[in-house]
Symmetry: C2
Subunit: 114 residues, 2 copies
């Protein structure tokens, strides 16, 4: 498994990977202790509730999303963000198509294929 | 020192802090092991070369920037990103006004005032 990325990550050179119905992602900068992932959502796409041991912080680049973090629901839009503590149950529904930046610490080993 | 942020970070509720000439920032989601910072640049603003022990990954939300990472220079635009390994000398010049997302691991203690 490769445990760090290139220095420069150009959108038009990175693979898009499927990330569930109506969603796709690009793995961007990472090493063992951090990983940044761009996730593009179609309107209506749902990131189902899940949890993980990683700390997560999210930035909304565009669109609008209804997040649910351990039962606490809020609509966030471009310019807003979230902090999701380890092991909290969280999910999101896309209410206007857009892009999220999800960043994890440590890296998401499960996102790396080789 | 507070070592974790709120869960929901709304752009219109967060303080903007000065971050050098022609730059300002909002501290967004963080805990001890991760911190996401939004940095807004005016055209021509310069993030002078510096280094730190934190791993950093950056996402370009808008605008265009010439980055220099240990002498390796490249122009990055909306949708692109970088990974900056610990202790590498890096800086950026804004060539079209825009916004960067910088994420650090561990958190930048030096960015927290109380």
């Amino acid at each position: 498994m490769k445990t760090f990325s290139e220095t420069f990550l150009m959108e038009n050179e990175l693979a898009w990977e499927p990330a569930g119905e109506g969603m796709r992602r690009q793995i961007m900068g990472y090493d063992g202790q951090i990983m940044l992932v761009k996730v593009e959502f179609e309107e209506g796409a749902i990131g189902y509730e899940h949890s993980h041991y990683h700390s997560q912080t999210t930035y909304i680049v565009s669109g609008a999303f209804e997040f649910n973090v351990e039962g606490d629901k809020k609509v966030v839009r471009a310019g807003d963000g979230l902090y999701i503590a380890p092991n909290l149950l969280h999910g999101a529904k896309c209410i206007e198509a857009g892009v999220l930046i999800d960043v994890f610490s440590p890296m998401r080993e499960d996102f790396i294929k080789d």
